[in-house]
Symmetry: C2
Subunit: 871 residues, 2 copies
């Protein structure tokens, strides 16, 4: 009796398949069996011309590889044009490797390369066959010089690999409570995909296991594993093994067969998906809608889905930041009239004579001429800036925790670490190279500085007064544009260098290769993008010396001074130009223009006359051959992380940065979508648990951002001096007299010989004492031109602010971190409930089994209706 | 044919058990079946008197619960003294809950409590029975008033729960390469346990699953799950469910049955283990040896094992820290003669007159009298201190990463978070309470300060000169001892308060209860232990005002000054006394004394005359009833974490702290071991993946330590002023003149009336200008007694040092973090290899199966010889 029950409890389907397969290997001998299999699988024999099937019309193509066939008229018959069908017949297939050397020796030297390629190909195919895959070759049928290798994974292989990969497959439906109100409110924001209409039921998932097949709905074996899963099953494990085993660790990072995947839309359902994606995703007109992440993930796989989900969430997070940024900016605009320091600068009655800003050609000037800059500076340097910097620091933490926590939902330990033990000598070379490259960046920045200094001096020599007032603005803007162009060019150069350096390192695995490459590229591109900004923020105007004792570089160039109200204004212009320019140029030129150009070039190889004719007859995979290959998501991520840096690192000096980033990202999402849908081959569906090393880099950036913002507020802006003046020196507790307090006195008789202005009577009167922006003792004190007590007090205050800001923000971050659970409560409850349901199900099964065992009841109550396949 | 194979591939053993069990439920009816089962299980029927078995001598006791029977002469027959055997007979057991209310109503009011208890007990037992456990009750047999509930888990239940818990069980042996050289070198350090002699083979583990039973060696079912695993299987899941389901979330944190586990040594093997543990672990004479962690883990379960492993590693990590600390201290000793500032203080020729340190009764004094303190200060405040602080910061990181990474080896996301959303009102109460308690601590510290001030003044009034010189040392030491006593008393008080507050919160789960309790206790105990030290380090001597304008508290008490060379010396004394005293007193009194006392009290309840007689006849579990219950590891962890705080937070001021900690821990390990082996009942073997919230607290502490050390070095020690003097003000680049530079001038005519010293001629000459330690302008400047330029410059330098130190240490920490892989390379390779082996095994099985299917070979090659149990 219990033997019958045995039969019940054990998933018979495995047997069924085993049986089928054992006969399936000899399909041609038993056409009956093939037919039966097709019927069982809910599948009619297909027209052999219908694309996604092998020539026999039964086995579906799960994966297509292409390779180049340079000599279609090859003498060897083995690589004939006709389709060779390989079956699972391991013990019968004679190893072709043994034949090859002799034949190869007969051929000419020029053929050697192709032979080598073919040899490898055969070795590779042999490996695939050993994994149980079935293959069909198609060489140069329609497109000359291109061979296709179609791969089919039999049900048994799919099951085995799914079990090894612990793929979570749907088991049975459960009801999920959905907040209908929220659903209705956000209805207009949802893409019309059809999948998220009334989603109050969902499938419970459980890792696939052949021994627990009764849990899964296997009534339609063809659709149980969808095409994405099938192709990823085929591509991941066996490919890895096939590549790695014979080449003994040397060729892992470079695939010799260049197995470009061309499976855009391998079946009808997916062609439909592609159309939905085109309409509901890759379109600018629906920029306000959510992305159909479920569909993207289904079609492109988890890694790509994760990127777009991340990008979407990041963009969403930018909205509050942009709003607060705009409010801060508006606050600056509104309060500009009430700002005492800028009022004092603009007040004609404060007759302050400033020292010349360059040697000889420049003359003394009235402070009131700096009125415009002083007012503009207030827009970015006001009380709200500090608040905004703190807000943004917390925003970062929220962004990292709440929404970038794609990493923490998953249970794998983060091994995104780059250890440095393996190859010290290689590392030394690379470190030296990296340092050298960063020095190059510094040199470029210095070059731009020199350009600015020299142009400034030259412009000052021309004596048109109306022209002179615009001098500063002109120089600033041109210098920023030059910087931008250099950044964009060097970006590409550094990308190539980083790749070359990483290849030199010979990392052991693909993953390690990718991580090292990302790390290097990040360092270089980051240094490239941020060096000019860092120079402006922290060094410009700080190492100029003082009147009578200026610091000179390159012989006679005096270092640049900042405008009267600090360098914040210039920093702001630089950031603005870099962000806008970089985003616009890189988006338009590199992301749209270059791929289009490449596609055109690729199509030009085919004769023009054939092309139209081909367009009609070509199969989907043959058409896709002309699309660009998928080169990975790294450039997209890199662009976003540099943007994140711009938004967070110097946010204290440019509150509009989040707004610009937001606008850019809204375009970026749709642009990337279009690219993925129309310009690129469908990428291999890669399973990804998290955004990997990018998360580490983001965390690092947000740490650096805290300290950078602390320094920007305390050293670049005038926030601290104002505060110190107000509470320590001001006679009436207001900012009246602040401008006077920030200016030191200089006796013009102390100018170094030859540096005094030539037109000393420019202002119309003889100047005896001029003023300059610094805290130094006046000429008549015991210690003339020494740093004054105020200087040290303000310095201490600035430093104290840095300490307080850094630690307060860190503390608040930790507090927010503590406040927000890693996994949102509803999700953790849902996970808990689902686990309970599964356990309950198992317990029911146990008891059902026991019941039958003890009582002997022959009618078990199955938990789900299973197709009676063993009839 | 394939039906036979089916039979092969499916783990038949499950069936076998099912069958056995279905009969096992009616043991008394079929003694044959019971016998057969016993034989099958490699087990002879045991003497019913032999302890670890039920009365039938067959079923092993896996778990014992005790409860109080206050009325052994209970009127109800159901709770009779004879043993009632419950079987798995769910459908037959009539729910006793329905009967009870009627019976209870008949009884007197006094009985109500016991009835309620019994009612709950029966509900509980019913739940256990539903889980499939079997029980035997034994009431007041030998020890009056105590009932025992013995629990046995049948094989089927064990298997089911093991599968749900995904317990990793050994599958088959593999060879492991062991470095024999290392083995030989460390041989003397290894405990003689027998298990780590020649450990070059080990078992591969795989999560237990009934469907993969063929992987495991089930030849001896009795020993497949060891006693620790059995008891943990019994205790964890069913207990939780049994407790939680009926009581609907209200009683989760308090177990009404108080299921104290008394299973010390339930079988022979374990009694042997206990002996080995006694000899090779719980003994002071082998303090230099490694602990037998494997055995501890086997005997006490993972959680306890993890604690001792952690403690051992932490102690080991202390060795380098202690060595470097001693070297730094010795460096101070050696260089004390070359130290210019202390030489200057001790130089009689520098005739410096200091201002009085208290009002009226104190007089002017010569700086040379502070010679002793100046020299002593140098021991702790020298150039090596900064190096040591940086070293210790990195040491912390290494400790956290390298060895405290018990957390990161495991794949579970850390959900040790305490979220604060659930109950806002309760939280508010608690926060208010906590703030109040911390205020109490502050008040106590302030009280001690007042004590010190008043005693000091009082002592100064007595005019014995020889007595006066010892005043400072006496006051310091007595104050520190008073502090210590208060700390120890308040420690216990706060522990109780924290527990009470947590109970008020009504957390939802045991885990949450524990975490909240730990968190609160930590905050309170930490504040308690560190407030006096923080006061000494950062506030003492800083808020005193200046001569002529002192700050007074409580009417007329002047705030304390530091000794001439800074407060570092006093901080050092305080730390030393707190650490030594706390460790010695708490270890001796609370960890040894109190448990012994409790044991004595417990044994006194039994009549003395019976005792000796009982000692002979009592079973193991009855004897263990007199041992103390296991109250969790939290006090042990708490003690260690406070010590970790002492070692890391103020290490800059007390380089010998690691040495003291090391000595303490060497004793602590053996002390705890003794306690676990001889004083406490055997705890439930709890599976633990990590040290949980303690790791979070340690991480937090190490973060705080960085900033605290930065402040100690820059503000408490004279390191920065010395540096600033040497590089900014010193005429010859040495420290000559430093002491003079740190002292400001005070014109004695500026004393507030009534505060000038009464004995102004004490030194033998009339003092016109006295000196005090501060950076202020002299009386003859334009701004008398204002903070001087030097003050601000030094303040800026101090703050800059804090920023630099904090960020450099953080950067280095991240770098070290990056350098050291989370998982050591050899272990990650081993994990990888093991995974490969398992995959290979599965692949072989696949192919074997397929081979048989396709070819029809009836003789499969099993991977391991399995006992032919289905005969």
């Amino acid at each position: 009796m219990w033997r019958n029950e045995k039969y019940e409890t054990v998933p018979l389907d495995v047997k069924g398949i085993d049986e089928d397969n054992s006969k399936g290997t000899t399909d041609s001998l038993y056409p009956q069996a093939a037919l039966r299999k097709a019927q069982q699988g809910n599948e009619r024999p297909k027209d052999p011309k219908l694309w996604p099937y092998f020539q026999d019309g039964l086995r579906r193509i799960d994966y297509v590889l292409t390779y180049h066939v340079q000599k279609p008229q090859s003498t060897r018959k083995q690589s004939a044009k006709s389709c060779l069908c390989f079956k699972f017949r391991r013990e019968q297939s004679s190893p072709p490797v043994h034949e090859d050397p002799e034949l190869a020796a007969q051929e000419q030297r020029l053929d050697y390369h192709e032979d080598d390629q073919r040899l490898r190909r055969e070795e590779f195919e042999e490996n695939l066959r050993e994994m149980g895959l079935e293959m069909e070759r198609e060489e140069g049928n329609k497109i000359p010089g291109v061979g296709f290798l179609k791969i089919h994974a039999p049900w048994e292989v799919l099951c085995r690999e799914a079990e090894f990969m612990k793929l979570k497959m749907p088991t049975f439906k459960v009801f999920v409570l959905v907040n209908m109100f929220v659903q209705k409110v956000t209805a207009t924001l949802q893409p019309k995909v059809g999948e998220n209409r009334v989603e109050n039921e969902k499938y419970l998932s459980y890792p696939f296991s052949r021994e627990k097949q009764h849990l899964f709905d296997l009534s339609d074996r063809n659709s149980f594993f969808d095409s994405k899963t099938r192709s990823s099953i085929v591509s991941t494990n066996p490919f890895r093994k096939a590549f790695c085993l014979p080449s003994q660790g040397q060729f892992k990072t470079k695939c010799h067969l260049s197995p470009d995947l061309i499976t855009k839309g391998p079946d009808v359902i997916l062609i439909l998906s592609l159309q939905i994606l085109c309409e509901e995703w890759a379109s600018y007109s629906i920029f306000y809608k959510y992305q159909p992440i479920g569909l993207i993930r289904k079609y492109f796989g988890e890694k790509v889905g994760l990127y777009f989900a991340w990008l979407g969430v990041y963009t969403q997070m930018l909205i509050p930041a942009a709003i607060v940024g705009v409010i801060v900016f508006l606050y600056g605009c509104v309060t500009v009239e009430d700002n005492i320091p800028s009022m004092e600068v603009c007040d004609e009655r404060n007759n302050i004579t400033m020292c010349p800003i360059c040697d000889r050609v420049c003359s003394y000037w009235k402070l009131v001429t700096a009125c415009g800059t002083a007012r503009a500076s207030h827009l970015f340097d006001n009380a709200a800036t500090v608040f905004f910097a703190i807000f943004m620091a917390l925003w970062e933490i929220c962004a990292l925790i709440l929404h970038f926590c794609f990493n923490s939902l998953h249970t794998h330990p983060q091994n995104v670490k780059l250890t440095c033990r393996d190859r010290m000598p290689a590392y030394m070379t690379i470190i030296v190279m990296m340092v050298f490259l960063i020095c190059v960046t510094l040199a470029i920045v210095f070059g731009v500085v020199l350009y600015r200094v020299s142009i400034m001096t030259a412009l000052h020599m021309s004596s048109t007064p109306s022209f002179r007032t615009n001098i500063r603005a002109t120089v600033k803007t041109t210098a920023a544009i030059i910087n931008l162009i250099i950044i964009i060019i060097m970006d590409e150069v550094y990308g190539a260098i980083a790749r070359w350096l990483t290849i030199m390192e010979v990392p052991k695995t693909d993953k390690s290769f990718e991580e090292r490459l990302i790390f290097k590229t990040f360092i270089l591109k980051f240094a490239n993008a941020f060096t000019p900004i860092v120079y402006l923020a922290f060094f410009r105007g700080r190492i100029i010396g003082r009147p009578g004792k200026y610091i000179y570089v390159m012989g006679s160039y005096r270092m640049e001074e900042c405008a009267h109200a600090g360098c914040l204004m210039e920093l702001c212009i630089q950031l603005c130009i870099t962000m806008l320019g970089k985003q616009l140029i890189q988006n338009n030129l590199f992301e749209i223009g270059v791929p289009k150009l490449k596609k055109m070039l690729r199509q030009r190889k085919i004769d023009k006359k054939h092309q139209e004719e081909l367009d009609k007859t070509l199969h989907r995979h043959e058409k896709d051959h002309f699309l660009g290959p998928f080169v990975g998501l790294n450039p997209e991520y890199m662009e976003m992380i540099i943007q994140f840096g711009m938004v967070t690192l110097f946010v204290a000096s440019f509150p509009l940065a989040p707004l610009f980033a937001l606008l850019n990202n809204i375009i970026e999402i749709r642009l990337d979508a279009k690219k993925f849908v129309t310009e690129l081959r469908r990428p291999i569906a890669v399973r990804a648990k998290d955004i990997g090393i990018w998360y580490t880099l983001l965390r690092g950036l947000s740490k650096v951002a805290v300290i950078v913002n602390a320094f920007v507020i305390s050293f670049t802006s005038d926030f601290i001096p104002r505060l110190v003046y107000q509470y320590m020196y001001s006679p009436d507790g207001t900012l009246h007299g602040f401008v006077n307090h920030t200016l030191s006195y200089f006796n013009v008789s102390h100018f170094q010989p030859g540096t005094e202005p030539t037109e000393s009577m420019h202002l119309g009167y003889k100047v005896e004492v001029c003023r300059y922006k610094d805290y130094r003792d006046p000429p008549w004190s015991d210690t003339p031109y020494e740093f004054s007590r105020q200087f040290w007090a303000i310095l201490a205050a600035r430093l104290a602010f840095v300490i307080v800001f850094q630690n307060v923000v860190m503390l608040m971050s930790d507090f927010v971190d503590w406040l927000i659970p890693d996994i949102p409560k509803d999700i953790s409850i849902q996970i808990h409930n689902e686990r309970n349901l599964i356990v309950e199900l198992f317990m029911k099964q146990e008891q059902g089994k026991k019941y039958r065992n003890t009582i002997g009841d022959p009618s078990p109550q199955p938990l789900r209706s299973r197709p009676s396949s063993q009839a």
